[in-house]
């Protein structure tokens, strides 16, 4: 197993708020790693810092993929980070609501097509063929996550749970080496959450490395190889699900006594 993501001493401040302080986190290929912690602990801020939405106050973010070795992502724009091989979903769903489900996935694919780079100015046979391929690949992704029957629906017509899956499809379309999921199960019922669990497991078995933020502890404990716990921007524990579940500090700060985990 090789290291995909290596985050060193990452810190982020907003005025007087220390949202992240010296956070170290590593992910190896093929792993599912979870980042958990109380509301406001800094989990989404961590995603925002490593994907270029925020510029961290200090620290390093290094990405290793089959194509790129140890590149520093600090200072790169979100779309550049995506091209380097990291994609994410958003806690507050960000889809193009008035576009079709298929189109939402196709937009994700565009960063991997040549016509995207050279522009659509030259509508050659090549761009047409590539467009056709984009449609086929996007449809295949929809099949993988089980949304193909809704391919031509408007995104806004999907249920909340389905929109969350579409977010995953859009991220997958960029062919990420590392997939970041911010609360993918929020708003899902127990059945949908089970389906999501199966989906994430299937992705992992196909070799996808995943970093997961989630408050559904059943999902986290079932899926994760390792877990990092943040509280007030600082790591308070790391370990296997078994270790985290029984860690008194984590129970006190986050899980609570009667936790269903």
């Amino acid at each position: 197993m090789s290291l995909i993501l290596d985050v060193k001493k990452l810190s982020m401040r907003f005025g007087g708020i220390h949202a992240l302080t010296d956070v170290d986190l590593q992910i190896s290929s093929g792993e599912i790693v979870a980042l958990i912690g109380p509301n406001g602990a800094g989990k989404t801020t961590f995603f925002n810092c490593v994907t270029g939405i925020y510029k961290p106050t200090s620290g390093d973010v290094l990405l290793n993929t089959p194509k790129t070795k140890n590149i520093r992502l600090n200072g790169l724009k979100p779309n550049q980070v995506t091209i380097k091989g990291m994609a994410r979903t958003f806690q507050n769903i960000r889809l193009f609501q008035s576009m079709s489900v298929l189109e939402n996935v196709m937009i994700g694919r565009h960063c991997r097509t040549k016509s995207f780079i050279f522009g659509a100015a030259f509508r050659t046979k090549f761009t047409r063929e590539e467009e056709q391929q984009t449609i086929e690949k996007s449809y295949a992704i929809l099949q993988k996550i089980g949304l193909e029957v809704s391919a031509n629906e408007l995104a806004s017509n999907l249920s909340y749970g389905e929109q969350r899956r579409l977010e995953i499809a859009r991220a997958l379309a960029t062919e990420p080496a590392l997939l970041l999921l911010d609360e993918p199960a929020a708003g899902m019922n127990p059945q949908e959450t089970q389906d999501l669990e199966a989906l994430i497991l299937r992705l992992q078995q196909e070799g996808q490395a995943i970093l997961l933020i989630e408050h559904d502890m059943k999902l986290v404990m079932n899926l994760s190889h390792r877990i990092y716990v943040l509280d007030y921007g600082t790591l308070i524990a790391t370990g296997t699900p078994q270790e985290i579940r029984n860690n008194p500090t984590v129970i006190k700060a986050y899980l609570g006594e009667g936790a269903d985990a």
């Binding site: 509301n39 989990k43 708003g187």
Partner: protein, 235 residues
């Protein structure tokens, strides 16, 4: 206090509610449980007339309200916290809360309710000057609930209040809902995926399937019903 009679609602040609009948008495906590897409959120939106029922009536305190604009319904003390935290992202936390009290003019009462929501969620007091859109997901959820409370609703419609909250807070949020019901004398209509917790604080509940109410009973009875356990409680 609230009565839905044969309510049918549509999205385009799709009939999302196929004749809903239900009743909520003053002081009760009523829960509506069902799968995603069964019509839970549509039921709430039909009550606040964000989605206008095409047939049937919504009667609130003896008055038909499904012909009134949503603002007038809020004025009558019926307030909805929609699914997915619709706060004003560019206003500060404090301004969001003030917006909740927009239709009130009892300064003292507003002041008191502000203290009350700050006591429920101290982080909101700490962050009163932060813009809503930069709050964490869970903090936004707390703000959405608090803003609704600032309107001093008589009937509060809650759509998935536990969404995005940490496990340790989820237990608290249901306690808080119960507390609002008892201390503020607010009637509550609660939609939740987290059916287990919802049924624990509810007096009665309705089960919705495919746009129709298929069961209604005391919450205890539903919790021990094997069909409900299997379909909604993950037992």
């Amino acid at each position: 206090m609230l009565k839905l009679q044969d309510v049918h609602s549509f999205y385009g040609n799709i009939e999302a509610l196929k004749g809903i009948n239900l009743e909520i008495n003053e002081g009760e906590i009523i829960s509506l449980i069902g799968a995603n897409g069964a019509g839970k959120s549509t039921t709430l939106m039909s009550i606040s007339n964000i989605v206008s029922p095409r047939q049937g009536s919504v009667i609130y305190q003896g008055e038909i309200i499904n012909t009134k604009p949503p603002e007038d319904i809020v004025k009558m003390g019926l307030c909805q916290v929609p699914e997915g935290r619709h706060i004003f992202p560019h206003l500060t936390v404090r301004e969001n809360l003030d917006m909740g009290a927009f239709l009130r003019d009892d300064k003292d009462g507003i002041r008191k309710d502000l203290d009350y929501v700050y006591s429920l969620f101290p982080i909101l007091k700490e962050r009163s000057g932060q813009s809503g859109g930069t709050l964490s997901g869970g903090e936004q959820q707390m703000l959405a609930i608090s803003r609704a409370l600032m309107s001093r609703p008589k009937l509060l419609l809650l759509d998935e209040p536990s969404m995005g909250l940490a496990p340790i807070i989820i237990a608290q949020i249901f306690d808080i809902i119960k507390q609002i019901n008892e201390e503020q004398n607010t009637t509550i209509f609660l939609v939740e995926q987290n059916a287990n917790q919802a049924l624990q604080i509810a007096d009665r509940a309705y089960v919705i399937e495919n746009g129709k109410i298929t069961m209604s009973d005391n919450a205890d009875a539903l919790m021990s019903n094997p069909d409900v356990q299997k379909a909604y409680l993950g037992i």
